[in-house]
Symmetry: C2
Subunit: 333 residues, 2 copies
DNA sequence: ATGAAAGCGCTAACAC
DNA sequence: GTGTTAGCGCTTTCAT
């Protein structure tokens, strides 16, 4: 690999001049510029980004930390964050933490030590150690899907309350009176928010949402199946189910079909996230769209703004969900 | 961020000594070692990895390039490659190329300029430009899912011929006489291999595989649906379908159900990749297991071996697929 | 056992 | 316009 010095030597100029033409900075005579360009071509010279990063204190890398790459919602986040980063000329270092605070901490550490321009997080754990590191570092940080207001950290979050309302209103408008909800872990704030929105919108239409019509799942396929078994077991006259993510909705769907129920004729099901698989199951799944693209783009833009020392207007950006109607929901007969 | 010099100053030693204790190299007196350790703790010093990388010519980073993060098979590759890399103490820079040779080239370029320890590729394009770059660089390269023997590049590939045989034998053993196949793009060598294995195993059992029983898809959900419409349209007495990946199998499944066919009672369907979604659709999908974990681990190990200048035994590692039986295949009535 | 000094490849004052 | 020089944070001879 040729270095800037090789180019300088071949072109018969100083390294500074080479640096100038590479970065289009300062005035350089047309003729020398041409000579340098020639030398660069001849040697197929490419500036070393590590050296550049060391010198400039920032190497055009964004760190991205998610709990689990294989979880489809996070796959989307990885995809769109990378897309946004690449567009802006950044590479991304990715890490999957399996929700292990040790791994999280180790990862943040690596990223800081690599002088990345910023870190995009999705769903940081509650572990105080991690939070402390995040609060203390000067590193630009943006958290997706969670607010960390106390530590003054930027976040981009979905309006989860509204997501709940959207789901509820859709079911209520279809005439459903016996609605149920499969939630994510209730210790996660966004799950409580979703449930709150759902409950309030249901109640506004004069229907009570009994506690026994709520099943706490864990966002996984299996707990969607569990929920259906639970609901059907107590035979609580359910005509519609909202699962707080698509994976659980898929589980619910499968369990319903295996139990001989017809969807949506007997029971309507609605999910959340709007994964591409919604269109692939039978019947295709009505879902609440989670605008990952918009959120990730916003997150990357915020990192860049923070890099340029811009103080962002607000510490939290709220993104609006929307309803995508498909074949798994229908009016009550 | 404290630097090595801050530590040296506080401990009253030279930077060399600090470097020695950090890296456990050379003899250091117990007492000074203790002093240095103290200083490190006090300052919460962490060696800067960029500087380390610049000096050492290698920064403990592995580059990973896939065509599309959101394609489930590649999501698995990302997941397992990261896992293996992290275990070995490497970070990974990820890139998604959308099969665009320009993006591919740009990405390789970035990785080389970042002095990564090696690059893991999945499905490089055919573009000569990219191949030329790969052939020329000294960078350790491992290609997953494709052989590049001519350029003497290491690869880890599935035994695709065997995958085809496995699928065929399963169907034949169930008594199927009218089998069909939905292939991936025939310009991709591995698709031809899969078909070859399938065809030969079918023929060995005395059944001919007509050309009109083969549909060329593009690995996407929609082409699975197209294939079924094609087969049912010509009404060619199909009793079993092998799709060369799960996505197309999911498409086939959905189209069959929507056409009023029962799976597996009327028609058996078998996929390939063994994505987690196989268990989530109804009926759950029989599939050929693609051992991504094993392949990715092997790829990372090879990169590391190449780094240590070990000449690997063979230029190609072959991995064996296996059959996972679920509910979408059954004996002919 | 410890340190001084050179250098990895680059950028940016500061001269001229 | 162009060059000299220092320095980013680290490792590594080579002395002592």
């Amino acid at each position: 690999m040729a270095s800037i010095r090789d180019v300088a030597r071949l072109a018969g100029v100083s390294v500074t001049t080479v640096s100038r033409v590479i970065n289009d900075r300062g005035e350089v005579d047309e003729r020398t510029r041409a000579r340098v360009r020639d030398a660069i071509d001849k040697l197929e010279y490419k500036p070393n980004l590590v050296a550049k990063g060391l010198r400039g204190k920032r190497g055009n890398i964004i760190g991205l930390v998610v709990p689990e790459v294989m979880d489809h919602a996070f796959t989307s986040i990885v995809n769109f964050t990378m897309e946004a980063a690449h567009e802006k000329g950044f590479n991304v270092i990715l890490g999957s933490t399996h929700n292990d605070p040790d791994v999280e901490a180790k990862f943040i550490d690596d990223l800081i030590r690599r002088n990345v321009n910023g870190i995009v997080f999705s769903r940081v754990s509650d572990e105080s150690r991690v939070l402390r590191i995040l609060g203390k570092t000067q590193m630009p940080i943006v958290v997706i899907d969670r607010t960390l207001e106390k530590e003054g950290i930027q976040s981009v979050v979905l309006d989860n309350y509204d997501a709940g309302r959207l789901a509820a209103r859709h079911l209520v408008e279809l005439g459903h009176k016996s609605v149920t909800c499969v939630t994510g872990p209730q210790k996660i704030a966004l799950c409580r928010e979703r449930l709150k929105g759902f409950r309030e919108a249901v109640q506004e239409s004069g229907i009570e949402l009994e506690d026994e019509c709520i099943f706490e799942g864990n966002f996984k396929f299996a707990s969607g199946k569990d929920a259906v078994r639970f609901f059907l077991g107590r035979d609580c006259r359910v005509s519609a189910i909202w699962a707080q993510n698509d994976m659980m909705a898929f589980g619910a769907l499968k369990e319903l079909i295996e139990s001989g129920k017809r969807v949506p004729e007997d029971i309507s099901v609605i999910g959340m996230d709007n994964l591409s698989f919604c269109e692939m199951v039978t019947p295709s799944l009505t879902s609440i769209h989670y605008p990952f693209d918009e959120m990730c783009r916003k997150a990357v833009e915020t990192i860049i703004a923070l890099n340029d020392k811009e103080k962002p207007e607000s510490t939290m950006v709220l993104i609006e969900p929307s309803l995508v109607k498909r074949d798994s929901t229908a009016p009550v007969p």
